[in-house]
């Protein structure tokens, strides 16, 4: 049996290792679309900041890790899939046969249609190669404009500031920061914090054009506001990497639609990680959850199924954590609320602290936090195990910051009134 995995991110690597463990006799090939050993995109901001070298971004630190496991790593790109023939076409020429296939090709930056986006000095910061280009142009005092104020932008923002850049962030038409993971209050706190730390935050609408001037790049927003910079980094969202699947007959929505066993609509083809659109634990709907823990869990469960050990996927929990210049924020599950549920909020804007809990049917279903770091994981524990809060429900309504206490008490069977 030959298992082929396309994509060497966390989902692909975890799947390869799981297959090796669960099906020792099978062949495993990992197709890696970028040069060098498999690395973690999540680590790029830290390499950009100079906190680690490029080696520090590797998903597996040990030299010869994959070879020693008998996992064949192949540097190439897949250009097409023939599902009926169980065969892949490769960019370098030639093809590869598979018995079971895992697509874990992840996502890449979406390029907004803004005139001037192809000017020199405009970059994404998604791959190691992107990072090298940005780093080469970065000096203390370099003026950098970040287009987009989502998670990816915000995490790079910190690195740029640490490198001494003078940073401006453009929030686009929403005028909000990290709106996909934080509510307006939390996003507002993050914005105020950034401004207090010397970052310019623009809320004057979408960028409409970028032009090159003698003194640098000039970006014009649709409000007419302009911003000048030496460098522009585009972080306006991502799209799943499914282009090579055109014509394959695979069922696509925002990503590859997968069932409760992470199998796609095509036989023997599975999908995992950022490219997969799988079950959301909280909503029961299928969604793309482009986060590390989901990628790893997808990879593990898909591999078990590929190895012939039927394993249902219970659904993933959307969650994220962001460190914006030292202000730590998190989001979990249905932080935006659920109809018929209850909400508890605590805000101390002066000290940049915020806590929002979403409760439904005596359980926690979602949360946003700003400025809280202790035992933060219990929020996942509370949501995912669907603990009934019992007497703790009322206590949490009075003081939602006692979450960890509630979790520990409930776990010890002290949930009673």
């Amino acid at each position: 049996m030959h298992h082929v995995i396309i994509g060497a991110g966390p989902a692909g690597v975890t799947a390869a290792e799981t297959l090796r463990r669960e099906a020792p006799a099978d062949n495993v090939t990992l197709i890696c679309g970028e040069p060098g050993p498999p690395y973690s995109r999540m680590a790029i901001p830290y390499a950009l900041a100079g906190k680690i070298g490029e080696d520090g971004t590797r998903l597996r630190q040990r030299d010869g890790h994959f070879e020693s496991l008998g996992i064949a790593v192949r540097h190439d790109r897949v250009t097409a899939i023939d599902a009926a023939a169980h065969r892949l076409t490769l960019a370098e020429g030639g093809s590869l046969a598979y018995d079971r296939l895992l697509i874990a090709t992840g996502s890449s930056p979406a390029r907004p249609s803004i005139p001037g986006l192809d000017l020199p000095g405009v970059h994404a910061c998604w791959t190691l190669e992107d990072m090298r280009k940005v780093t080469a142009q970065l000096r203390p005092g370099t003026r950098v404009l970040l287009l987009g104020a989502g998670f990816v932008s915000c995490i790079i923002l910190q690195s740029l500031v640490q490198r001494g850049a003078v940073v401006t962030v453009s929030c686009g038409s929403s005028g909000r920061m990290v709106r996909s993971m934080m509510d307006e209050t939390a996003g507002g706190l993050i914005m105020a914090w950034c401004r207090a730390k010397g970052v310019t935050v623009l809320t004057g609408g979408r960028p409409s054009a970028i032009t090159s001037a003698a003194s640098g790049l000039l970006t014009t927003l649709d409000s007419g506001l302009t911003a000048e910079s030496d460098l522009i980094i585009v972080g306006t969202g991502v799209k799943t990497n499914t282009g090579f699947l055109a014509g394959s007959g695979i069922e696509l929505d925002e990503g590859i639609l997968v069932d409760g066993w992470l199998q796609s609509s095509l036989p023997d083809i599975y999908a995992a990680g950022d490219v997969a659109q799988g079950l959301n634990l909280c909503t029961g709907a299928r969604e793309v959850h482009a986060i590390q823990p989901t990628a790893v869990e997808h990879g593990r469960v898909a591999a078990l199924n590929m190895a012939g050990k039927p394993t249902p996927f219970g659904g993933s929990l959307s969650m994220n954590t962001l460190d914006t210049l030292g202000l730590i924020s998190c989001s979990f599950g249905l932080w935006m609320g659920k109809e018929g549920g209850e909400q508890v909020r605590l805000l101390d804007a002066g000290r940049f602290r915020y806590l929002r809990l979403e409760l439904f049917d005596g359980r926690l279903v979602g949360a946003n936090t700003v400025g809280m770091t202790n035992e933060i994981g219990v929020i996942r524990g509370l949501i995912q195990t669907r603990i009934r809060l019992g007497g703790w429900l009322e206590r949490l309504k009075r003081d939602p910051s006692r979450l960890a206490e509630a979790y520990v008490a409930c776990a010890q069977g002290l949930a009673a009134e």
Binding site: M42, Q61, P293, T321, G377, R380, A409
Partner: protein, 159 residues
């Protein structure tokens, strides 16, 4: 034979000697806020609960780490954070459903219990026997393990 921390909340008086011993072991200062074991005071139930990583087999933290900075120590069964590799991304802190791996803003890295390499300071400091270090099979650790399994995505949907 692997050993584990056996925690008996009914014996705990909430004195925090364990927290001090833990922070002293790691930092040579007495600083409960940096302790990898925390005593919860469940005041409404008159119960103190020492709480730390159970070195669960699911190892949520380890799997969530994007840079291979959390590894298993095979002799002890512990999941250990390697400071030289940790970038401080905090993904493990949200992935661990027990909340027992935490970010330390001073070091810029995460910290969790590593059983002090096989001689846990908290157990030695506990004056009441609420925390002891024993043969893993005796711990009835089962209770925590059971809890860990409930968090597993395979079974969560059925709970």
């Amino acid at each position: 034979m692997q050993r584990a921390l056996l925690i008996l909340p009914e014996k705990c008086t909430g004195c925090r000697q364990c927290e001090m011993a833990c922070s002293f072991e790691k930092d040579r200062s007495f600083n409960p806020s940096k302790s990898r074991i925390r005593v919860f005071d469940i005041h409404s139930q008159a119960r103190f609960i020492p709480y730390t990583c159970t070195q669960c087999s699911q190892a949520w933290c380890l799997h969530a780490c994007p840079v291979d900075a959390i590894r298993v120590d095979l002799s002890l069964g512990t999941k250990v954070v390697h400071d030289s590799l940790c970038v401080g991304c905090k993904v493990c802190t949200i992935a661990c459903p027990f909340g027992t791996i935490n970010y330390n803003a001073d070091s810029g890295k995460v910290a969790k219990c590593d059983l002090c390499g096989g001689d846990p300071a908290c157990a030695k400091a506990c004056p009441t026997g609420a925390i002891t270090y024993v043969d893993a099979e005796q711990t009835g650790y089962g209770k925590m393990r059971h809890w860990a399994v409930k968090t597993d995505t395979q079974t969560a949907a059925q709970v």
